[in-house]
Amino acid sequence: MTQVLTPPTEDVATEAPAKLHGIIAEFETVNDIMRAAKKTRDEGFKHWDVHSPFPIHGIDSAMGIRATILPWIVLACGLTGTMVGLGLAIGTMATSGIDLPGLPGAAAPIRGYKFLISGKPFNSLAAFIPIAFETTILLSAFGAVFGMLLLNRLPKLYNPLLKSKNFRRSTADRFFIEVQARDIRFDKDKTAEFLKGLGATSIELIED
C-alpha cells in the first residue's frame, strides 16, 4: 500500500543535487488525518503541517496550534479607524486647521472649514458618528484581511510543495501531513517510516 517514491516531483532541470524540503504523507479521510496529526504532534515535531481542502473541525487542538493574535491586530486597526474618522470630521469641521509640518506633500497646513450651517454647532459630534463608524469598520476589515495574509506569509509565489502532482489533491479531496527537513527531529528514513506507520496511503520526498 505504502510506497516511497524517489524522485517524486515533476522533472525540474537541476544541476546540483536539490536540497530536501521535507516529506509529505497522504491520507484519505478526515478520521485518518486527525489520528495521524495527533501522533505527529506527540512525536515532538515542530516544523510540520496538515494540508486539507477545508478547515477540519478540531484540527487546531490535534496539532497544538496556538490561538492567533489576529483579533488584537483588528482591534488596533479599528481604534485607529475611529480616531481617523473623528479626527477627519472634527479637524475639518470644527477647527481652523491642523498644522502637520511633517506630513509629506503638505507644504501648507491643512485648513479647516468652519462653516456655520443651520445654526448647528461646529463640533456636531452626533453627526460625525456615522463617519467614525464607517472608518472603524473599514480599517478593521483591512486589518483582518491583510493581517491574516501577513501572519500566513502570503502571498507566496513559490512553494516546493506545489511541484508535487499528487499534492495538488490537497485542495480537492485528500489530506496531507508535511514534515519539513529543517525540523530538528527530521530524519529522511526514520520520518518516512514513522509517517508510513500512521497509515499514509503514499509518502513523497519534496525537494526544494
Binding site: 478520521n31 494540508h51 496556538r66 483579533p71 470630521a89 464607517e134
Partner: protein, 497 residues
Amino acid sequence: MATISTQPEKPQVLFDNTTDDPTRRAPLVLGDNDFTSITDKVTGIAAGKPPAKWWIAFLFALSLLGMLGGLIGYLVTTGPGVWGNNQPVSWGFPIINFVFWVGIGHAGTLISAILFLFRQNWRTAINRFAEAMTIFAVMCAGLFPGIHVGRPWLAYWLQPIPNQMGMWPQFRSPLLWDVFAVGTYATVSALFWYVGMIPDLATLRDRCKNKYGQFAYGLFSLGWTGSSRHWHRYEKAYLLLAALATPLVLSVHSVVSFDFAISQLPGWHTTIFPPYFVAGAIYGGFAMVITLAVPARAMFGIKDIITDRHIENCCKVMLGTGMIVTYAYSIEFFVAWYSGHHYEQAAFLNRLMGPYAWAYWTMIFCNCVGPHVLWFKKARRWTPTIMFAAMCVNVGMWFERYVIVVTSLQRDFLPSSWALFKPTWVDYGMLIGSFGLFFTFFLLFCKFLPVIAMAEVKTVMPQAHDIVHDPDEPYNPDEDQADYRPDRPHYEWGKKR
C-alpha cells in the same frame, strides 16, 4: 495498529430534503456526492466550455451594457437635462436606481455575514454567488449618484481630499455619510468575497490544464496550500469580517434612508425609515438571489448542491422580511394620521389617491400580496410560483423607491410649484442598461470563478465529521482544550515547570 473504518459511509440518497422533521438534520448536499465529485462539478463549470444559453445571455447583457455606456456618454456630453429630473422632482430615476441596487446587495451580505454568525449552514451553497451579486449590485448603485452629481468629472469632490481652496465636504450631511457608508460597504464586500474565494481559487489553480488559467488562478490564490496553520488564521479572519460586515450592512441602508429621513419633507421625515429600509433591502435582495439561483442551478446542473431546501429557505426569508415591509407601510400611514400633521397626511393621501396611485398600488400588490403565494409548501417547490413571487418583489421594490422619491417631491408645500415627473427615454435606457452591467459581470463570474464555495460546502458534508475514536487508544480530554501545548518543552498538563 488497529484499523478503523477509513471509508466514510455514503450519504443517504434523498431527493426531498425540505422535510421539517425536527428529529433529524436535513442533508445540505444531495445525491452520491463526496469531496471529489463536488470539486469536479464546481471546477468543471469554470474549466469547461459554457453552454449555448450562457453565450446568448452574455451577449444580450453585453449589448445592454454597451447601451448604458452610450447613454452615459450622451449624458456627460449633453448634460443632466437629458433626464426627466426637474423641479420639483429633482431626484428622479438615478436616485431610485441607486437605492434599488444598493438594497439588492444587502441580501448577499446577509447570507455571507449574518447567517454565518447564526451558524446557518445552508448558506454555504449560495453565499459565493450571493456575495458576487452584492458586489455587482453595489457597482450599479455607485454608478448612479456618480453621474447624478451634475458634473461627473468632478465626482471626486465627494472625497475628503486636501485642496488649495481649503474646502472640505460637509460631514454633517447624510449625503456625505452615504459616500463613506457605500464606499466602505463596497470595499469590505469585495474583501470578504475575495478572502472567501482564495481556497477555491487554489483548487482551480491545481486543476486547471490551461497555461493562462494556471497563471491567473495561481496569482490570485496567493500561494494557498490549505495549511491548517493558515486555515486557523483564515477562519478567525473570516469570522471577524462577518462580525464587522453585520453592523456595516445594517448601517448602509440606514444611512441611505437618512438621505430621506433627515430632510424635512413630508413622507420622508420619519423615524421608521432605517429599519424599514433595511428590511426592504433584504426582501428585494433575496428576490434577486432567487432570480439568479433558480436559472443558474439548472444551467450548470448543480441542483444537488443548491437544493430545493436552499430555495425554500430563501422563500421563507422573503416571506418574513416581506411582512416587515408590509407592517412598515401600514405604520407609516398610522403615524401620518396620528401625528395630526396637515402636510404629512396630505402626502400620504396623495400616495393612495394622487396621480401616482397606480405606482403605489403596483407596489402594494407586488410586495404585500403577490409573494404570499409562498405560504403554500407546494408553491415554494414549484419553479413558476417561486419565480412569480421573486419577480413580484423585484418590480415591487423598485416601485417602492419610485413612490418614496416621486410622490413626496412632486407635491411640495406650495401648490403653485406642484408638477408631475416625466421620465425620458434616457431614464428608461439607463435603468435597463444597469441590468446589463449587473448581468454581464454576473455571467463572467459564473464562467470564470468558483460559483460554489467548495471549501465551505465540504465542511457541511457528513464525510467532514466522520471521526471515530479508537477504543484501543486512551482518550486524553486535555487534547481538546484550547491551550493544550504539547509542542512546548517540559510541558505537563496543569503545571509549567
